[in-house]
C-alpha cells in the first residue's frame, strides 16, 4: 500500500481505490485475510481511523466482510455480478483517458487501439501509467512486497 499525501486526492480515497483494484483485479482472492487496521495503518503510515473508514466503506460496497474476533476478509462473490462491472468501470475510465490523450495527439480511436496492440506485440513494453515515485516528501520509499498479496498491482 502506497499513498502520496500531496497528490490532492484524499488519502482514504487513495487507499480505497488501491484496495478495490487489488480485489477486483484478483490480486486479493476471495477469502484472503486483510491486515488488521493497526497493521495496515502502521505499514502505510496513515491514520488507523482512515483505514477503518476504508474497510467500512468497502464492506458496505460488498467487497469486504468482517468476522468479529477473526478479521476482515475479501467477500464472497455473491455480489460477484458487481465485480466484473467494477472492472469494466475502471477500465473504461482508463481507456477514456488514453483515447483522450491519443486524440490530442491526432490519433483516432482505431489508430490508438492499433498502436496499443503493436506496442504490446513488439515486446510487451508499455509506458507505466503513473510516473515512478521519486523519494520526496509525501511519499515514502516503495517497499518490495515479496508475496504480492498486499502490494499495489500497478
Amino acid at each position: 500500500m502506497h499513498v502520496n499525501a500531496s497528490s490532492g486526492v484524499p488519502i482514504y480515497l487513495q487507499l480505497k481505490n488501491q484496495l478495490r483494484r487489488a480485489i477486483v483485479g484478483g490480486v486479493l482472492q476471495v477469502g484472503d485475510r486483510l491486515p488488521t487496521v493497526r497493521d495496515l495503518a502502521a505499514e502505510a503510515v496513515v491514520n488507523p481511523n482512515t483505514v477503518a473508514r476504508v474497510y467500512r466503506e468497502l464492506e458496505a460496497e460488498g467487497l469486504l466482510e468482517t468476522q468479529r474476533g477473526v478479521g476482515t476478509f475479501v467477500a464472497e462473490g455473491k455480489e460477484a455480478g458487481r465485480r466484473p462491472s467494477e472492472r469494466d468501470r475502471l477500465l473504461a475510465a482508463a481507456a477514456a483517458r488514453f483515447l483522450a490523450e491519443a486524440a490530442q495527439l491526432g490519433l483516432s480511436a482505431r489508430q490508438a487501439a492499433d498502436y496499443l496492440l503493436e506496442r504490446i506485440a513488439a515486446g510487451g513494453i508499455v509506458e507505466p501509467a503513473e510516473p515512478v515515485e521519486p523519494v520526496v516528501p509525501g511519499g515514502w520509499p516503495r517497499e518490495d512486497e515479496p508475496d504480492g498479496t498486499t502490494g499495489d498491482p500497478n
Partner: protein, 301 residues
C-alpha cells in the same frame, strides 16, 4: 458522553504573556478523544508554549486548560501519569544508560508495559547499554518515544518529535505511533514542521499563527475543499465574481489570477467556468501552501 468527557484537551481563552508580549493569545482548543490532531504553525507561533502549558510545565497568564478532564497545574502527577510526552530535542540524563533511564521512568507509571517498551526499542534498534549522552539526536527522540508510549497513555503529546531523524527513521517513528498510540481511547496531539507527515496521519489540523488558532479543519476538507484556481479572464473579471463566498484569497499572477478557495468549491468553479476565460485550472493546495496562506495573510493583515 458529555462534550466535556469527549474532549481529551480543552482550552478556553488560553493566554501566555512574556514581558508583555502574548506568545499565546486567546486560544480555544478542542481535541477529541481518539483523534489525531495536528497542531501546525510558523516558527514562534506559540506551539511549544501551548504544549508546555498542557503538561503543567508553564503557568497560563489567563484562561483555562483541561487535559483529560483535569487542570494540569492542580491535577498533580496523576494527570501526567496518563500523558506521554515527546518534546523537541529533549534533554535527558546523559549519564544514564538506555536501560537505566527506562528503569528510572517505569516506576512512575502504574500502567507501564515493559513488553511494549522492549518491542518499540527493538524496532528502533536502541542499544540498551549505551549511555543517553552517547546517542545521536535521532536515537534520543526514539528513546523519548519509548518512554512516552510504554505506559499506553490515553494522551500522547508530541512537539516536533521527528526532527533529527532520517526519512526511514521518521517512517518507523510514525508507523509505531500509528500502530500503538491511536485508538478509541487514545488521543495524539502533535506539532510538526514536516507537513507531509502531518497530512497523512492526522484527523484534524489546527493552524496557529501569532498565538491564535486561525482555522481548524479536517484533513479531508483541507485536501478536497481547500484549493487554488488559476484563471485567465478574457478582459476584466466580471463584477463581484472574485468576492464570492468561499474565496479567501485573490492574487494576481501575470495575466491571470490565483484564487484561494476554502469552501463552496463547486459553486466557485461553476461561476468561474461560466465567465469568459482563456484558462481555468484547479490546483491542489498542499498543507504547506495552506499554512503559508494563513501565516502570510496574518503578517500582511
Amino acid at each position: 458522553m458529555s462534550l466535556m468527557e469527549q474532549l481529551a484537551i480543552r482550552t478556553e481563552n488560553l493566554s501566555k504573556h512574556f514581558d508583555g508580549v502574548a506568545a499565546v493569545d486567546g486560544l480555544d482548543l478542542e481535541v477529541r478523544r481518539g483523534e489525531v490532531y495536528g497542531f501546525i504553525g510558523p516558527n514562534g507561533a506559540g506551539k511549544t508554549t501551548t504544549i508546555r502549558m498542557l503538561l503543567g510545565l508553564a503557568r497560563p497568564t489567563r484562561g483555562k486548560i483541561e487535559v483529560l478532564g483535569s487542570d494540569p497545574l492542580t491535577g498533580g502527577p496523576e494527570v501526567r501519569a496518563k500523558i506521554g510526552y515527546v518534546g523537541e530535542d529533549q534533554a535527558m540524563y546523559s549519564y544514564m544508560t538506555v536501560r537505566g533511564i527506562m528503569g528510572f521512568i517505569a516506576p512512575m507509571y502504574p500502567t507501564w508495559d515493559q513488553r511494549l517498551a522492549g518491542e518499540i526499542a527493538d524496532v528502533f534498534h536502541l542499544p540498551l547499554t549505551k549511555r543517553v549522552g552517547e546517542l545521536s539526536k535521532g536515537m534520543r527522540s526514539q528513546l523519548a518515544l519509548v518512554l512516552a508510549m510504554a505506559p499506553r497513555p490515553p494522551l500522547l503529546v508530541m512537539d516536533e518529535p521527528t526532527g533529527g531523524l532520517d526519512p526511514i527513521a521518521r517512517r518507523d517513528f510514525l508507523s509505531t505511533v500509528m500502530r500503538s498510540a491511536v485508538g478509541p481511547d487514545q488521543t495524539v496531539f502533535m506539532s510538526s514542521h514536516i507537513l507531509s507527515e502531518v497530512e497523512r496521519v492526522v484527523d484534524r489540523v489546527g493552524i496557529i499563527v501569532r498565538g491564535r488558532l486561525v482555522t481548524v479543519r479536517t484533513i479531508d476538507e483541507l485536501q478536497t475543499v481547500q484549493k487554488r484556481i488559476r484563471v485567465v479572464f478574457q478582459g476584466e473579471p466580471p463584477a463581484g465574481l472574485l468576492q464570492q463566498q468561499g474565496i479567501v484569497g485573490v492574487e494576481r499572477e501575470g495575466h491571470g489570477y490565483l484564487i484561494t478557495v476554502e469552501d463552496h468549491l463547486e459553486e466557485v468553479m461553476a461561476s468561474l467556468s461560466s465567465a469568459p476565460v482563456f484558462a481555468l485550472d484547479l490546483l491542489d493546495m498542499s498543507l504547506e501552501e495552506v499554512l503559508i496562506h494563513y501565516a502570510g495573510g496574518s503578517r500582511r493583515g
